[in-house]
């Protein structure tokens, strides 16, 4: 699969590395040339030697998207730090370039929900984080009740898995 990731922040770069590791062709686009360094965290080689591509350019510029290979992309992930940028470029990928799988990261739950209803695949980290926190807190409240309403939240409430967020 040829995957194009726009936005090479923590989410974009981690995703890029793991998908490359799983044998996919991965191309990243970011307007900040310095973000390239993030791709090489934990790698013994350069990102390019490992087989990845990196393009410097603005997400809204079709020239940059094309240079990064959007025409051949099977999947497209919009992971810039701007919700609106992600929403707009996802729709461009979908409608103009007809990429099969398009996923947008949208931090605002309301916008994420509405655009999901419009047929965009969205990931809302805010919603996921809130749900995880709710789960942890319910767990903590439950164990407090079991202990007779006294004591601490217990070790499981501080949660080890939750630390893996974006």
């Amino acid at each position: 699969m040829f995957l194009l990731i726009v936005g090479c922040g923590r989410v974009g770069s981690s995703l890029a590395r793991s998908m490359l590791d799983e044998g996919h062709t991965v191309s990243c686009l970011d307007e900040d040339p310095e973000s390239h360094a993030r791709l090489e965290v934990g790698l013994d080689t350069t990102w390019e030697e490992a087989g990845g591509q990196f393009t410097v350019g603005t997400a809204l510029e079709t020239k940059a998207l094309e240079e990064a290979g959007i025409i051949h992309a099977d999947a497209f992930v919009a992971a810039t730090n701007g919700d609106n940028t992600n929403i707009v470029i996802s729709q461009i990928a979908q409608r103009r370039y007809e990429v099969d799988t398009v996923i947008a990261r949208i931090l605002d739950p309301l916008r994420a929900e509405w655009y999901r209803e419009q047929g965009l695949r969205t990931i809302c980290p805010t919603k996921v984080a809130v749900e995880m926190l709710e789960d942890k807190l319910r767990g903590a409240a439950g164990s407090m009740q079991a202990e007779g309403g006294s004591g601490e939240a217990g070790p499981e409430a501080s949660g080890s898995e939750a630390g893996e967020g974006s």
Binding site: G82, N84, D108
Partner: protein
């Protein structure tokens, strides 16, 4: 009319003031604190602090009862999104979006956000009108309505020079409406003779542009 304006930069601020002056009810939305405070000094309760691309902010501004939404922030993606939400979620037919970077115009078209206003394009068009580097200039394009007004400069080789408007066999759905000669505009009649250097203004169906251009430009 109730109008929501997104973005209190110079354009949004002046626009809001003018609209209020014309008796319209306006809410101006701005999410940069300093710009918001400056706008509030001037326009008081007509200004709302918040990000107009957030749905709850638009709802607080009363988008359900808005007659028109105008997005004039400095970010094209924000303007696209605000108009898209206004149109598709709240069914507001009348929107106007500002295009900051002309190369983003294709995105507005793709997502059916229109009409758009681009200061850069307007200035380029005026520049073209003043200093044409090819002999056809678009003065007005009403895409939806499929009508446009163009201006054609008659060169020395133009086959119509020396002929009258009446002699001309112009295609259907085209009409010569004015001739600008030596800096003065005249409304021609059938006996008006075309001269070299004339700027001919015509109103037409965009599909006819090529045909009309053939008639007026070089043989």
């Amino acid at each position: 009319m109730y109008v929501i304006v997104a973005g209190a930069g110079k354009v949004g601020l002046n626009l809001t003031r003018e609209l209020i002056g014309q008796g319209h009810e306006v809410t101006l939305i701005e999410n940069r604190r300093e710009q918001y405070l400056a706008a509030e000094q001037l326009l008081e309760h007509n200004v709302l602090y918040g990000d107009a691309s957030e749905i709850w902010v638009l709802e607080r501004a009363g988008i359900e009862r808005a007659d028109m939404v105008i997005a004039v922030t400095g970010d094209d993606e924000d303007n696209i999104l605000i108009c898209q939400v206004a149109k598709e979620k709240y069914g507001i037919d009348r929107i106007i979006a500002r295009v900051n970077n002309p190369s983003n115009r294709a995105h507005f078209d793709l997502l059916n956000i229109k009409p758009v206003v681009s200061a850069t394009e307007l200035i380029l068009r005026l520049l073209e009108h003043e200093v044409p580097h090819h002999n056809l200039v678009h003065l007005l394009d009403l895409e939806e309505e499929e009508i446009e007004i163009i201006e054609i400069r008659l060169g020395s080789k133009s086959t119509v020079v020396g002929r009258t408007v009446g002699e001309l066999n112009t295609p259907d759905n085209t009409l010569v409406i004015a001739i600008i000669r030596d800096g003065r505009g005249v409304v021609p009649n059938a006996s008006t003779v075309f001269e070299e250097g004339d700027d001919v203004l015509a109103v037409l169906d965009p599909d006819r542009e090529e045909e009309l251009k053939q008639i007026f430009t070089d043989a």
